[in-house]
Symmetry: C2
Subunit: 339 residues, 2 copies
């Protein structure tokens, strides 16, 4: 920096002023400094800057380490939104999201001097864990459970998973189905709980029995295993006529199991998923699903973070933003078989 200063014939402080877009720098001076910077190929040292300003223009993302489509897409979206706002992104992904591991990771992130944290870990106890970590930096949790308590520096953003479940269930109901079962995901996840609860509530509102099959996970493998069991019941005549799968991976496992047993989808049984994977439209048959607004979530999270930093009062509700998923009807749903 002092090289630049002497080349431009000014003090290093004037260089700093130019760099920081301070007012009160004569245009001619500014140009000379800029020219000197260009000539020398000077780049400001971020460490020094971070040291003195205690701001780093970097946000941290804490996520669960698996390659699940949902979290992965959300992380990608947050990253894009952050970059659009001129922030860098430091990612830390945990295999196991327990209190200790999360606290350590959060600590590392804070040590890095990040300006804020976005937590993408839609687990039931994420809010408790993060709240318990006693963070001193602004944080936004994507997808917290509804009893989470926002504070001035910790806020929440989510997609309305209850609406997702309701949309799926009502779509099936509208088609004439009455025996609509749910294949639930991993119950440690908020999404699993919420989708389950809303499906159940919707069924009850219509005075219908709610039969649940637990996949216990989010993978095609778990969906397949449950699917074989369900296929048996359908073949025996007392199974559901429609399935609401907690996500698309489970749904594809279901599709596969039904196909193996000679059950036709949607003629014999309808299937709805959640997420809308890149290839969900090309499953056999094309999967009706509830698409999640990942990009919007990323932007909302970033905006919430910026809002905290700007001292904006928090939203009235529990969540800073609640985004709406969208039902995408394809070929895996149809009216129930006659009789």
């Amino acid at each position: 920096m002092s090289d630049v200063a002497s080349l431009a014939g000014v003090s290093h402080q004037t260089v700093s002023r130019v760099l920081n877009d301070h007012p009160n720098v004569r245009p001619g001076t500014r140009e000379r400094v800029l020219a000197a910077i260009a000539e020398l190929g000077y780049r400001r040292n971020r460490a020094a800057r971070a040291l003195v300003t205690s701001r780093s223009s970097t946000i941290g993302i804490l996520t669960v380490g698996n390659a699940n489509f949902g979290p992965a897409s959300t992380v990608l979206a947050v990253e894009a939104a952050a970059r659009a706002q001129g922030y860098f992104v430091s990612v830390s992904s945990l295999e196991a999201f327990d209190a200790v591991a999360a606290k350590t990771a959060l600590g590392h992130l804070v040590d890095q001097g990040i300006d804020g944290i976005v937590v993408v870990a839609p687990l039931v106890d994420v809010a408790r864990v993060v709240e318990g970590a006693g963070l001193q930096v602004p944080a936004v949790i994507v997808a917290a459970n509804p009893d989470a308590v926002p504070t001035d520096s910790l806020r929440y953003v989510c997609t309305d998973q209850r609406l997702a479940a309701r949309e799926a269930t009502e779509h099936l109901l509208g088609l004439g189905h009455r025996r609509i079962a749910h294949v639930s995901g991993e119950m440690a996840w908020i999404d699993a709980l919420e989708r389950n609860g809303a499906w159940r509530a919707t069924m009850e509102e219509h005075g219908l029995a709610a039969v649940e099959y637990a996949a216990g996970g989010w993978t095609a493998e778990t969906g397949y295993a449950v699917g074989r069991r369900i296929a048996d019941e359908i073949a025996a005549g007392d199974g559901p006529t429609a399935l609401f799968a907690a996500n698309d991976y489970i749904a594809i496992g279901l599709l596969r199991a039904f196909w193996e047993r000679g059950l036709r989808v949607p003629e014999d049984v309808s299937v709805v998923g959640v997420d809308d994977l890149q290839d969900s439209a090309y499953f056999i048959p094309g999967l009706t699903t509830v698409r999640q607004p990942f990009t919007a979530m990323g932007q909302a999270a970033m905006q919430a973070l910026l809002g905290i930093a700007a001292g904006q009062p928090r939203a009235d509700g529990r969540f800073e933003a609640v985004l709406e998923p969208e039902l995408v009807v394809r070929d895996s749903t149809a009216p129930p078989p006659a009789g």
Copy 2:
């Protein structure tokens, strides 16, 4: 830090020594310092540390921004490997990987004071672009084209895509297929080129004609579009008996198109993909594919980076590490239809 020092009754430098595991600190002193640190909940300021050491324990990852399974998995793997080595990870993902955007992003990453860069952008001109950016930090490119020139501070790591194509093609050959066509991916990608080239070479070695269909992309959508065309040709009797798809997304599009046209897989036509998606085993039928060693790639990239930093001489060959993919045989391949 000075608080810790005074609480422990030592100088701040001794605290620094404890923190940096210097020898020549009496055990008793070390313990007192550690106790003071614990009591005060002291955390070292990374910015100050980075400023004085010009090392940040952070590596940068530059990648292409889409949610393609391959790059995304590799990034995840690099991140895991980095964290296992005690490094933080700063991610920058580009929508368009052109020379200008890449140079800017690389510059931002360098500005952050990262200790090394891993580029995960398997595009044909990635090496040229990165080489052209004139990086001053160690860098490793994952999946460079074979004419890339490693230097002391820029090295390459890849998965043998030619082997992947060869395995797939020979599997099909071994099953008795002779008319094995290739559905190629996006030709700006190294993987697409390599798989294409090796499939072609293998066919020629066997004196067989190599018919290529260009999907032009990596998605199920592009695979589906090409698949319809191929289905027509097969129906007309002059189509291939087996398809080697450049990746699993294309393969699923193919499966879908064939299913729509009443073509049975594998009875009427065999399909092999590349990647092994989480749900490839549950496609209808289960997809035979060539699995890529993403985790190993991430580790190899990290190791190569560490090697550069440690001043290790570069490997003899072009690549620091060449990993092998693995053929996974499932239900989408069978001998060709008789006649």
